[in-house]
C-alpha cells in the first residue's frame, strides 16, 4: 500500500497541486509524462483526489443559532464610555447635594454669630451703612440674574441703595466695604477685621485699597470652593471685587457699574453660589434671608433627585452591560 508520506515532498506537492489544476502548463506536462509510466505515482494521485473529495463531501451543518449582532454586541464600546461618565455624574450630584446640605445646616448654626460680628463693624465706621446697603442690590442681582435688574435695584430709590449712594459720596473707600457683604456668613468673623482694615487704610489712598480686597478674596475662596466643588464661580466674584476696588472713585456711577458687573457675573454663577450669596442675614435687610433660604432647599431637592436618578441609570447601565 502506498504511503503518501513516503513520497518525496516535491512529488507530493506537485501531485496535490495537479489534482487542483494549479500546475503551470510546463509542470503539468512533465508530471503527465511521469504519471504515464509510474503506477505508484498514479495511485498516489488517485488517493489525493479521493481524500480531497471525501473532505468535500462532509455535510454542511446548520448553525445552532443565528449570529446576527444585537445592538449590544455591536455597541459595547460606546456603552463602555457611557458607564464611567454616569458614575462620575452620580458622584458629582451626590457631592453637590451633601455640600449644599452642609452649607444649609452650617448657615443656620452660624447666623447668630454672624450678626454679632456685623454689629461692631457697623458701629466702627461710616462705611457700615454702605456695607449693609449693598446686600439688597446684590441679592437682587442673585435672585434675578440680569444686569438690568441689578441696575434697577441700585438706581431705584430703595432705602438700601440710597444709603449706599450716600455712603459712597460721604466716604472715600467704598471698595473694601462694597466687597465686605459679599463674604458669606461663615466668613463674617474674618470679614469684620477686613472691614476695619479697609476703613483705616483706604481712606487716604483709594488706589492703594488693594490689600483689603485680597484679604476679602481669600475669605471668599473657601466657601465658594466648598459650595461648587470647582473653581468656576470663583473668578467672576474675585474679579468683580477687584474691579470694584480699582474703580474706587467716590462716585455713585462707579458703584452702579460695579454692582451691575456683579449682576452680570451672577449669571454665570451656579445655583449653589446664588444660594450662598442670597442669604446675608444682616440686620438692615431682615426680609431677605427667608427669601434666600428656600432657594437652598430647592437646590437640595433638585440635587438629591438628580443623584437618585443618575444612580438608577448607572445601575441599569451596569446590569445591561453584563
Amino acid at each position: 500500500m502506498t504511503r503518501l508520506n513516503r513520497l518525496p515532498p516535491r512529488d507530493l506537492e506537485a501531485l496535490s497541486a495537479y489534482a487542483d489544476g494549479r500546475l503551470s502548463p510546463a509542470e503539468r506536462q512533465a508530471l503527465d509524462a511521469r504519471l504515464g509510466s509510474d503506477t505508484e505515482l498514479r495511485a498516489a494521485l488517485d488517493q489525493i483526489r479521493a481524500t480531497a473529495s471525501l473532505l468535500r463531501a462532509l455535510p454542511s451543518i446548520r448553525p445552532p443559532r443565528s449570529f446576527v449582532l444585537s445592538p449590544e454586541m455591536a455597541g459595547v464600546r460606546r456603552r463602555g464610555l457611557g458607564y464611567p461618565a454616569l458614575q462620575l455624574a452620580t458622584a458629582m450630584a451626590t457631592l453637590g447635594f451633601i455640600v449644599t446640605l452642609g452649607v444649609d445646616l452650617f448657615s443656620f448654626s452660624v447666623a447668630p454669630s454672624a450678626l454679632r460680628a456685623a454689629a461692631p463693624a457697623e458701629e466702627m465706621a461710616l462705611e457700615a451703612p454702605a456695607a449693609q446697603a449693598l446686600p439688597p442690590s446684590d441679592a437682587a442681582g442673585a435672585a434675578v440674574p440680569e444686569a438690568g435688574a441689578a441696575m434697577e435695584a441700585v438706581s431705584t430709590p430703595e432705602p438700601g441703595a440710597q444709603a449706599q449712594m450716600d455712603a459712597l459720596q460721604a466716604t472715600l473707600p467704598p471698595a473694601p466695604t462694597a466687597t465686605a457683604p459679599l463674604a458669606p456668613t461663615e466668613s463674617a468673623d474674618r470679614a469684620a477685621p477686613a472691614l476695619e482694615a479697609g476703613s483705616l487704610t483706604a481712606a487716604p489712598t483709594a488706589e492703594g485699597a488693594s490689600p483689603p480686597p485680597t484679604v476679602e478674596s481669600g475669605a471668599m475662596t473657601a466657601p465658594a470652593c466648598e459650595a461648587c466643588g470647582g473653581e468656576q464661580p470663583l473668578p467672576p466674584e474675585t474679579q468683580s471685587e477687584k474691579t470694584a476696588g480699582e474703580q474706587a472713585t467716590p462716585s455713585a456711577e462707579a458703584s452702579i457699574e460695579s454692582s451691575a458687573a456683579l449682576g452680570v457675573e451672577g449669571e454665570t454663577v451656579t445655583p449653589e453660589a446664588y444660594a450662598l450669596q442670597a442669604p446675608p442675614p444682616l440686620e438692615p435687610a431682615p426680609e431677605l434671608p427667608p427669601a434666600g433660604l428656600p432657594w437652598l432647599r430647592w437646590v437640595e431637592i433638585a440635587l438629591a433627585s438628580t443623584a437618585i436618578l443618575l444612580a438608577g441609570l448607572t445601575i441599569w447601565a451596569r446590569a445591561k452591560s453584563q
Partner: protein, 204 residues
Amino acid sequence: MDEAELLRQAQHGDLDAFNTVVLAHQTRAYNVALRVLGDGEAAADATQDAFISAYRNLRSYRGGSFRAWLLRIVTNACYDELRRRKRRPATSLEELAPETEDGEPEVEAWLATRADGPERLSERGELVAAIQDCLDRLPDEFRIVAVLADVQGCGYDEVAQAIGKPLGTVKSRLARARARLRDCLQRHGELLPAAFRLQGEVPS
C-alpha cells in the same frame, strides 16, 4: 441589494445591513470553525466572536473578496480558541463527539441521508466522525488549510488571504495535510466508500 452596497452601509454604522451580510455568511463561517475546532459549542462562540470582530473592524475592509476577509477573521477566532485550549487542555471526549448526531445537517444532506435508510445514516455518521477525528489529529496550521481548501472548496488565493501566508505555503501545507489525512483515514477502512478502499488496496 448587493453585498458591496450592504457593506458600504454597514461601514457607516447600519447594523441591519451588516446583519443581512451575516445571514449570508454565517453557515460557512460556522462550518469552518466547526471543522477546525471539532466542537459545535466552541465553533458557535468563535463564529459569534468573529462576526463581532468583523463589525468592529469593518473600516479595515477595503473592497475585494469579503468572504476571504471574513474567513481570515474566522480563522483568527479559531486560533484564539486553540490557544486557549493549549493553556487549559481539559477538553473532554464528549466535546469531540461527532457533530451530525446532535447537530442538524443541511436540508439536502438530511434528505439524502434519510433516503439511505437507518443503517446508511449511522454509517454515514461514523464516516463523518472518522473524518473529523483525522482532522483533529492534524497540526493546527495543516487542519485550517485542509478545512478551507478541501472542506469549503476555497481557492488557493483565498486560503492564502485567510491564513495570511504566501501561496507556496498553502500548496505545501495542503499536500501534507492530504497525505496525513489519507494515512489516518486508511485506519477507518471499513467506513470508507468502496472507491477509496479499492484505491488503497490496489498496490498491496
